[in-house]
Structures are given as C-alpha cells and as structure tokens.
Amino acid sequence: MSQLLTWQGLLALILGGMYGAVFGAIPGLTATLAVALFIPFAFFLEPGVALPAIIAIASVAIYAGDVGAAIAKVPGTPASAAYVNELYRLTRKKSPLYGLGISAMGSSVGGIIGTILLILTAGIVAGIAKQFSSFEYFWLAVLGLSAGVFASQKSPLKGLVSLLIGLFFATVGIDPTLGHARFHFGIPDLLGGLNYIVAMIGLFGFSEVLEFLYRKKEETKAPDQSIQKMWHAFFLDPLKLIGRKWILVIRSSLMGMVVGFLPGAGADIGAWVASSIQKMRRRSSRTMSADTEEEVVLAGSSSNNAAVASAWIPALALGLPGDTITAMVLGVFLMKGITPGPLLFDQMPELPTTLFLTFFIANLILLPFWGYVTARMANRIIKIPLPILLSIISAICVAGAFAINRNPNDVLIMVGMGGFAFLLRRGGFPLAQVVLGMVLGPILEQQFMVSVIKSSWDWMSFFDRPVALVLMVLTLILIGVGIRFSFHNNK
C-alpha cells in the first residue's frame, strides 16, 4: 500500500486513468490494446506502481468504450455493444452528459460493489471457479446466447438470425478440433478468423456512415447546458437514478461479478446477460419507455465494471486469466518474478491489499473524474453537424480497423461488415446479436467439442454435473419465459 501512496503511485494512477480514457474513447483502440501497449513500460516500474496503473487504465478504458457508442454508435468493447443502441438513443434524446453519466456512475458503483465482493469472496469464489469444466462453460455460453436472442426488441426471430450469422462469422478460420481451415476462400488472413473488434467498427460505425449517405436522417441536437446543469446531468441525475434503481444495480453487479470471475468469460458476457435480462423484463411488463433505455445502460455498465474487478479473482487466486487484460497482468507478474496463485496472499500480503485499494480509487475517483472530462468532450463533439462528424468517423473507422493488426485487409473486412450491416438494417435485423455470436461462438464451439471428445460423445455427460445442470435449467427457464412473453407481446 505504501507504494501506492507515494507520488509515483498517485501519478501512475492519474496518468493511467487519462491514458485509458483517451484509448477507450477512440474507436478501434480498446482497453486490451491500451494495456498491451503499456506492458513494455510496466517492465521498468515496480509491481506496486505498474499493477495499479493497469487497473486504472482498464477501469477507465472500459467505461470510455461507451463514449464512442454514445457519439457515433461505435462501441469500444464488446461489452458496450450490449447496450449501444440504448446509449446512443439516450444521448441523442437527452444529452451525452446524461447518457455517459449513467454509464460512468453505473460503472463506478458496479466497480465498487465488485471490489467489495472481490475482497469478501476472493477465496470462496476462486474455489467455485476451480469446479468449472468445459460442460459448465458450454452451458454458460448457451445462457448468454439465449439471453441475447430474447433481448432483441423487435423480433426474437430476427435476433436469432443475427445471432446465427454472428456464429457463422465465428466459424471462419481454423477449427478447434481438427485444425481444418473453414470458409477462408483462399485468403491467408482469414485463417486466424475474423477479428470481432474490426467487425464491430464496421457493423456499428461504418454502417452508420453508409446509412446516412444512403438516406439523410433528421438530426436531433442536444440542447446547450450550463456548467451547473452539466454537473447535474453527469453526477446528480444518474446518482438519483441509481438510488431509485438500486436493486437493478446490485443485481446487475452481482451478475457481472459471478460471470466475470470465470476464467475466459470476463466483462463481455456479464454485460450481455445483465442488459439482456433487463430488456426482457421491460418487454414482459410492456412498459417500453425512456426509463427502459436508462435501465439497460445502467444494468450493462454496472455489470461490466463489476466483472472487471472480479476477473482479477482467478488471476490472483489461481493464476488463471479472467479476461485478456488479466492474461497480460499474469505476464507482468511473471516478468517481475512473482508467482500468482494461493501462495501470493501469504508471500506478498501487501500486494493484494494495494490492488484492492487501487480498485476503490479507480472506481470512486478516477472513473468519475475522467468520465466527466470525456463526457464534456463528447458533449461538444455531438454538437458538430452529422455530415462533418460522420466524415471524421469514417476516417477513424478506417485507421482504427487498420491499426488493430496493421493489416490493410482488415479495412476491407470492416467496410464489408459495414455494407452487410446496412443490408441487415434494411431487413430489420438487429446488429448487436451478430457481435454476441462472434464473441461467444468460439467459446461455445470449443467447449462443446472438448466436452464431447472427453466424454466419448456421451450426451448425458452435459447433464451429469450439478453446476452444469443448474446452468441448463436456467437456460431453459430463460427460453421458456422469453417465448411466453414474445407470444404475449405479439397478441
């Protein structure tokens, strides 16, 4: 803890937060990329400074991924894609400060709840995580996909089609069982599969440019606000909303936390499950209103930052990465000669304490501060006429898609995805489910194939294990409720 309270530690937190805010807000530059580029610098820093800086970068960057979603419908992370439409509509209807205020305050409160639970339950939860095998991961992926289908507001059937298309995109490249190259059309770049960040830029960002080029839509301009009103819109109104919807925030944070601690699952699935369930609840009660958008954004944002904290549980307690960021953190541990795992708590008790404190500072101070700064910037950016804004967005989409792998062919994929998304929109098919399919597809297929191979194609093995059975029952309940309410709403 002592290192954190030195000027180097505090500077690392502040600069880490700023760096995360800039990275998260630019489409194509993700929290993962921000941490990856920081790793060479982490080599020269003490672990007590480097690791808090990474926490600050990740916590702020995950929130800042919503800035692109709010301004231009370009989610910075797959987790943001879960509620991109709601956040975009909210921003256009009210103001970026209010939309991003809900996102930042929701992330902050979710992150704090996640941190408290991290401290209280790290040991217990790590024990449960050890029980998870491929069967449980398979059912978890099925649960996430089912939630995604019924979250589709217009038609679950069209949501299913989008999801299947996303799952198809996920099959491009080398398959996980025999290493056979699928649907690569002789293009070597496709052997590694389609990068879903590139796809997301095309599906949400470039398709918006194409949509506007095709048919000029009416602009809705956010009204000018005084500083006092800005303060209200960003801090007070979202906090009042959180006060009114505290059960929703706690429930979503718990969901994010539970999903986040599973190695490999991370914040994305947590955000999808929480926001999808909220959409379903609203649809079932037939009360689609402005409140729905606020609740969906609140559910998704509180869930994803709770998951960011809990993803550290398997990393610290078991030495297993909870997500891509903690995978890199494990690399930093090894680089510094620290062995993560149960012994870490005995050998370096001050390090987990420093990390827990950093999570509190990041969520309590850094995220609201940098969140407010980025939201003020967004508030100015959104006042720019759409043709100008979209011209700039098109350049950022192109540069961002190229920057991910430094591959010009990724730009072609991004543009292709933009064109494809344009057609999907014409047919009334939702786009977010395509991303969900691309994110969960590889997990689903790999865990399914591992399960059937290790059980020698004994299908009953999917229902033998208690946790797997619970997840399956939850999935069936979700599907049953979803179908019932779909029919109910169509009557």
């Binding site: 630019i26 530059l29 580029l37 059937l157 069209k158 299913l160 089609v161 299947l164 298309i165 799952l167 198809f168 099959t171 398959d175 069982t177 025999l178 056979h180 699928r182 649907f183 470039f206 440019v209 194409l210 506007f212 080029l213 095709y214 048919r215 043709p387 100008i388 979209l390 011209s391 700039i392 098109s394 350049a395 950022i396 989409c397 192109v398 540069a399 190229f402 920057a403 430094r406 010009p408 062919n409 730009v411 072609l412 991004m414 543009v415 933009g418 064109g419 344009f422 014409r426 047919g427 009334g428 098919f429 597809g441 297929e445 399914f448 194939m449 059937v452 191979i453 194609w457």
Partner: protein
C-alpha cells in the same frame, strides 16, 4: 418495395445462404469413428438459418402490408456505393499515401459525398489527418 417484400427477399436469401453453407461443409473432414468434426457447428447454423428463413417466410405471409417508408423512399444508391468504394480503395492507396493521409482522403471523399463545401471538406480532412497522425503514427508508431 414494401416491408413485406423486403421480408420475402430476406427469407429467400437466408434459405439460399443456409443451403450454400450446408453444401460448403460437405468436404470437411470427420473425426475418427465417423463423428462429426469441423462441419458440425456450421451445419447446426445452417439448419438454424433454414428454419428461421422458412418461419420468417411463413409469418410474413400473414402480415398485412404496412405503409412505412421502404427501399423506394428518396435515397441515394450512388452515395452508398461511393462510401463503400472509398473504404475499399483505402488498402490500395494507403501504401503510397500512408495511414493518416490515406484515412484523410477517405474523410475528404465522404465529406464531398455529403455535399459539404470543398473548403470545409478539405479543412476537416486536414484536421482528421493531423489528429490521426498524432495518435496513430507519432503516439503508437503505426504506419502502413
């Protein structure tokens, strides 16, 4: 084109795509013992798309014609094609112009498609080029 016709076309395309997907998996290898391997998931997706396509087709027959704006409403296919074309051309001119200037040209082209005035479009694209140069080239060292 009405919404009903759009649904007919989407359903037809889905069914065709599902069939193509099934056929494409025909020569995928299988696992020992004859168990399905790489073809299993694409085939499940193909069946799912086929059923969804047929269900959409069936449901659209029951739907009444709506008067919502459709594909025939005032729109510009030329602008759309221009936008896609500019993006597609980027990988070809970027090696000569560089990442930032290449993206700046895309920005200029899109701005002109939006009927922005020349001076404004050029000013914006210069600004975007400088911004991208600062972030990607100077900051991250990313070049084409």
């Amino acid at each position: 084109m009405s919404e009903k016709s759009t649904t007919y076309i989407s359903s037809g395309l889905l069914i065709l795509f599902a069939l193509a997907l099934w056929i494409a998996t025909a020569d995928f290898p299988t696992q020992s013992g004859g168990y399905p391997g790489p073809s299993l998931f694409p085939r499940i997706i193909s069946i799912g798309l086929m059923i969804s396509g047929l269900t959409l087709l069936f449901l659209s027959r029951k739907e009444e014609e709506s008067n919502e704006p459709s594909l025939s409403a005032p729109a510009s296919w030329q602008n759309l094609a221009g936008g896609i074309g500019l993006g597609m051309l980027f990988p070809f001119f970027a090696p000569y112009l560089g990442l930032s200037l290449g993206a700046g040209i895309v920005c200029l082209g899109i701005g002109l498609l939006f009927r922005l005035r020349w001076v404004l479009a050029i000013t914006i694209s210069i600004g975007a080029t400088l911004f991208l140069y600062l972030i990607f080239t100077l900051g991250l060292g990313i070049t084409v």
